[in-house]
Symmetry: C2
Subunit: 829 residues, 2 copies
């Protein structure tokens, strides 16, 4: 039976099973698990039924505590019930977790595992949240990839119903929850096959009902509680067997065979890494590459973390292993070690003491931390771990992937090392959040995934500033399962969707020698070279890059698409990346356009077709000269005048190089200086407001509404106008105070995001021509060429941190106004 | 400097320091930690100041989540801040625990460690709650006795301020939080000496303030979070040193010397138990006794559980040890072992691997669970563990103190074994909840504690039914520190404060041969013997007991004390127990009376004096005959007609023998049959309502308000009256429906608690004599002699579980009424 291939992310993969296999879903969405709840809500709203023909009842509660309570109640009423959560949300569920497990209630919660906030909050992924529940008596099943999320969502539910142990089914937040991959979809029949009517009936029979009244939630005293608590033990002993049975049944059904502890690597490995979650895929990949070089390495993927079956754990390890490294994606300060490391040490120590360990008595076991808050975990780091394991006395309690210059825990590794298979196409796209790049890339993956037998993977690195910040898309296509849950280091294709990024990011670092660089440029093939900063010219020459440009903004506008450049850039990608034959690719794009826009009428479809054709017509290859010509170097990330901390820490992070910061760069308690945001000049506005002073009524609304405080209205002494540029605009101040003062509205172009709220609220209109307003949006491209003299001359910054700051990024001197009007966040400067 | 000796329980010992050493206290009281919050609130309400002259700001929040949030906020504002909690309350604080620790904020939370609800709720003590926080980055410091609670409350705060690691300071809920002991009180100077102005200034300097603005609570991304998180490590490495420094400073100050890991026992011990909390005291005591017998045992008391200092742990163990047993007061099903066991295995395995373990390589380490939900943990059990440790292959993952006939985990031990020093006076009192017994006993401890150099200990075993249920007081007095955090098995003195208990509890089991038994009896010395159940006569003869009786109810009433028998029984205790010379004791009681009641005027004082004198006059010794004479055996705990589960499980628990129930007696998921409460005939009412039918207006209010549904109003066919007893009362039913029916109000005396709510609401009055009401309270003593024929004849039970039950405890047949009125909880039967 051929199952459908679908292109989904981890959240949708989990929700797809959870929604079809449950009756009640109580949610309180939290990043990065939110899409599971949102999908479920949307599906139920649309009347989508579960495999038993019932539309699941999806209810949003007031907090995760409420969601857990509602789930507990629904379970006690006999409903198949689930929820989705992460991080603090999961922590709020802990009291109910104990109750649900204590009452042996079958349920699966799907967790997009996320960092718990400590010195700082983080929305990204690690295992600190699920580890905080390891003592609750829940089963814990880890998925390592999008396909596994889909599969284990079902296996967990079958095993839970069979064993009566509830399960946390977890996968890495963002890295897996938000990775888009082509997977095989489980059918409704698959779900019904795994979750039998007998299981459901047994669950129902345990419900509280007046027809068979029993009491739960009683209170017990010292005389009885301990014995009653021990009565649960046989269920935990039996649980691994139930999971194995579910995995075997699933394997027979789908051909995908899973084990509690799944070993991959040399049968006679001397070094084995033990891990959970997406990192296992990276280790799997690295093991294959190292073993191909003649090394003897292996990885033990822990799938069933709780109950931890010592028997199956011991049986899964090759007897030849001399060194084990246990990786924990968490930090539990003050403990003797991280959790899984202690589990493994305990299990092996007991086996050794009992004389039934299959491993050498002088086996070395080390533990390490990795990947906190979605910190990159890639083959270079993994090779570093295996190299350390070859040492006589390898470092224990290590960290990998960072430079811990404070405690010296971090292992060295060759950061430049990159393993990728030659037949995997890798493309990296630099887009602006909300500019459509991510959507277009998902569409591209779909086209390639559907049109070929290729496996496809998309991962999107969002800046937490979300809209208006850079979003980097990492796309891979290849003939085999893509075990690459890490960023692309060297791509065949790099696209820059925003001209201003040239000044901000080292995009060509990510390009393979001979690879293709696509640039959305306001300058044509003939002119663009000289407009490039020196660093970009150098990069193109060094990489011997194929360099293409398109004025996507112009093509989009002229094709009637307004500012939406995604179809244009997508067309160019297909045209020059070679991932599909060009004609086939263009046909597929047009087919996708028809599918997407068909309902909106032939006109819209034709407009998009035209955009595709215009894109191809306007896409030009630029011949890269042999030598640089530019005299313009990339501007510093922050001004020289910035405080040391901003220059040394914030600037690194703004430039995308935060990973290089050592531990010592950070305060130990998460304290951060204030007023740093003003040093980040984002330059993301395509259009900025221009002041038409003759229409201005001096109401100051524009300054008040600006969310980034980028518009300032100032009242000042006329003497300050001395020496002002020709173009500098001013009015007589009209209010009765400060007679004789002057008034100016100014915009800080680098801080403005181009949202146009100021223009919307501006009441200053030309009565003759109501289209004319005192403020209007005007294109500025390239940005720094917009009336620089005005801007340099007079903009004054507020003084939120009381340091009497008087210089901005360009070092210009500013005048002190009598006073100024400003709304919004004063910290944004 | 002589410090004051005070008599306090663990909660007050903690609160006494916490209130004096903090400025902000946010609370949401939860059993058994509530008194800490309540004391603090009362003290602040009374204007009591902390050691810096400020009245701490005590605020009750809406939940423990709110309390933790308020604490977090106050700490960030630079206030010395604390809270008190336990169990689910602590779980709700977990998200804030991560934040407070992540931000390196000095604070101490005082935890009366309590069971987390699983298959059932329990208000009693174990370490499942604090273990659920071991991963949060908080320091964890365990106190083992009331004195240690007092001391460590201060040491923890000093260490936290010094190290910036926040601390959970925990002690065993109930066993320590509610144990009353004579301790040395820390002075305000002690607190100021330990918490220096420099520490407070440093804490203040880390506050968020606009004067030195910094930002906390930021969001970090994958580029920075991991490194920033690792920056905290040096603080955890330094923390044990800060605790040692605080302990040493404290030791120099008070002479009480504590260590992170405190070893007690043979310097060349072959067996060492490792534990935390009150159990350590019991082990300490047992070690002394075993070693006195020539054994070589030891105990390692873990005080600083987090950060777990491997260095100090290894240094504390004798090199001679061959077997270690790690005891965890929790159960974490599904894990490879309980938490501290894994910590110890990990630490020793690392030392062995590094070649720096001071211990033998073939050291045996086992782990066990004990004391869940305040399950008794006494020397008999501890000797059982040491005996098991002498085996060649001692059982791992054992349980002790229960009979686990399901999984076979439990160790055998000689339950009859009892170690007590001969010079420790032990007294056990059976009182009724709310009858003043506990208060009087606390007062007795104070008298003895104040009047002598003796150490004193009081522990009160409350039934969770609270008011109206049995409360057993366990009092010890002795010349040395009392390391006896377990119940008295053999007492010098046993008092029964309620006659009805003779039919319910095996009190004489707790009496030493030759000990004294004091009975509050409505029968005098001449008559009482024949009124005793056969079992009690047997017990008195076998124990060669000294037997005293007093009609305390009569004495109290005649002395003007109403129903309050506590002063009477206390006087008798002092008169015959020999704990103090009789005259001295009586003088001390009178002194205490003057102190307590002096403000209420001379009359009250004299009334109490009179009660003391009357008590002595009415206290009579009964000569115990050589042979039994009674033909009355104790009635069965529940009726023969009760369902099997009630007879086999509930009845054991009702009789106080729940500890003997094996694991198999309990369902694994906490499910319990309904309708069992009706089989528990508590017989606790001293007076029950009597129906004066001629005044009844048939309003049925009495039946509606009865909280135990012990009053029933029935309408029935007159034919049912056939064969009714002479004394059976009935009326014509007056409402228009059911013409010709009869109406009767009946009371179930064994279910009635004597609360008299029914009498309070009864509107049926005699117009001539308003004192006469349709319901009035009337003494019934002994209970079962009250109009038994009426009661047996006609009482019908409701049918909450739909089993058409038609028999009650005495097996009488009942008639079915046409309908009946009843209020309150129908399950109480």
């Amino acid at each position: 039976m051929a199952r459908k291939k679908i292109l989904v992310d981890g959240n949708e993969a989990a929700a797809s099973v959870a929604h079809r296999a449950n009756e009640v879903i109580a949610i309180y969405p939290i990043t990065p698990s939110s899409p599971m709840g949102e999908h479920s809500d949307a599906w139920s709203s649309a009347g989508q039924k579960n495999v038993w023909g019932i539309v699941p009842d999806v209810t949003e509660m007031q907090s995760e505590g409420g969601a857990a309570g509602a789930v507990h109640g629904a379970l006690q009423a006999g409903a198949l019930t689930t929820t989705f959560t992460a991080s603090q949300g999961l922590l709020l569920m802990i009291p109910n977790l104990y109750k649900i497990a204590g009452e042996l209630t079958a349920a699966v919660f799907h967790i997009a595992a996320r960092t718990i906030a400590t010195h700082a909050l983080s929305i990204f992924g690690d295992h600190s949240d699920v580890y905080a529940c390891r003592q609750t008596g829940w089963g814990m099943l880890a998925s390592n990839s999008v396909q596994e999320v889909h599969d284990f969502a079902l296996i967990a539910q079958a095993a839970s119903l069979e064993s009566r142990i509830p399960f946390l089914h977890f996968f890495d937040g963002f890295r897996t929850s938000h990775e888009v991959a082509k997977i095989e979809q489980l059918t409704d029949d698959d779900i019904r096959h795994m979750i039998t009517d007998e299981m459901v009936s047994a669950h129902r029979s345990r419900a509280l009902t007046p027809d068979r009244p029993v009491l739960r939630g009683s209170a017990q005293n010292p005389d009885a509680f301990f014995q009653a608590r021990e009565a649960v033990s046989p269920f935990y002993r039996a649980c691994p067997g139930a999971v194995i049975a579910a995995m075997e049944k699933f394997g027979a059904l789908t051909g995908r065979h899973y084990e509690l502890f799944q070993y991959h690597g040399a049968p006679d490995a001397d070094r084995v890494i033990i891990a959970m979650g997406s990192g296992c895929e990276a280790i799997h990949n690295t093991v294959d590459m190292l073993n191909a070089q003649g090394q003897k390495t292996g990885v033990l993927k822990v799938r069933l973390y709780r109950p931890f079956s010592a028997e199956h754990f011991l049986a899964a390890l090759p007897a030849t292993v001399r060194t084990l490294a246990v990786l924990d994606r968490t930090k539990e300060p003050g403990g003797p070690g991280e959790p899984m490391y202690m589990d493994v040490v305990t299990t092996l120590n007991e086996a050794r003491a009992a004389g039934n360990s299959p491993l050498a008595d002088d086996l070395v076991i080390i533990g390490g931390r990795y990947g906190l808050s979605s910190k990159e975990f890639n083959p270079a780091m993994i090779q570093g771990i295996y190299a350390e394991m070859s040492q006589d006395t390898p470092r224990n309690h290590f960290t990998i992937g960072i430079n811990d210059d404070v405690s010296g825990t971090s292992l060295d590794y060759d950061a430049d090392l990159d393993f990728e298979d030659d037949d995997v196409v890798r493309a990296v796209f630099f887009g602006l959040g909300s500019d459509g790049t991510v959507g277009a890339n998902k569409n591209s993956i779909k086209i390639i995934g559907d049109g070929t037998d290729n496996h496809a993977q998309g991962y999107f690195v969002y800046d937490s500033k979300k809209a208006g910040a850079v979003t980097i898309s990492h796309l891979r296509f290849g003939p085999r399962t893509l075990r690459t849950p890490y960023l692309i280091r060297k791509a065949n294709f790099v696209a820059c969707h925003q001209w201003t990024f040239l000044d901000q990011f080292e995009m060509l670092d990510k390009l393979m020698p001979g690879g293709t660089f696509l640039l959305n440029s306001p300058f044509g093939a003939a002119d663009v070279w000289d407009k490039l900063p020196l660093e970009v010219q150098n990069g193109l020459i060094e990489k011997k890059a194929k360099f293409h440009v398109i004025d996507a903004v112009k093509v989009a506008r002229e094709s009637g698409m307004g500012g939406r450049i995604n179809t244009v850039m997508q067309t160019c990608f297909f045209a020059i990346s070679g991932v599909l034959p060009r004609d086939e690719a263009i046909a597929a794009i047009k087919h996708a356009i028809e599918k997407t826009y068909g309902k909106k009428g032939e006109k819209v479809v034709q407009m998009n077709y035209a955009a595709v054709d215009a894109s191809l017509a306007n896409l030009h290859e630029v011949t890269v000269p042999d030598a640089v010509t530019s005299d313009r170097v990339r501007p510093p990330v922050v001004a020289d005048e910035a405080p040391d901390h901003v220059k040394q820490v914030a600037a690194m992070m703004l430039a995308g190089n935060g990973d290089l910061l050592p531990v010592s760069a950070f305060t130990p308690d998460g304290t951060w200086p204030t007023g740093t945001a003003k040093w980040e000049k984002r330059n993301i506005a395509q259009e900025i407001p221009v002041w038409e002073e003759e229409l201005c009524i001096q109401c100051n609304k524009c300054a008040f509404v600006c969310p980034h405080a980028a518009i300032r209205a100032k009242v000042y002494d006329p003497e300050h106008l001395e020496g002002s540029p020709e173009t500098f605009k001013s009015l007589d101040y009209t209010a009765p105070d400060f007679k004789g003062a002057k008034y100016t509205i100014q915009v800080a172009p680098e801080d403005c995001t181009g949202c146009d709220l100021c223009v919307q609220v501006c009441p200053g209109k030309d009565r003759e021509n109501p289209e004319r307003k005192a403020l209007f949006m005007h294109e500025q491209m390239p940005l720094r060429d917009t009336e620089p003299e005005n801007w340099d001359f007079f903009l004054s910054l507020p003084d939120p941190d009381r340091t009497k700051l008087r210089t901005n990024v360009k070092g210009t001197q500013f005048l002190e106004p009598l006073f100024e009007f400003s709304g919004a966040c004063p910290g944004c400067g």
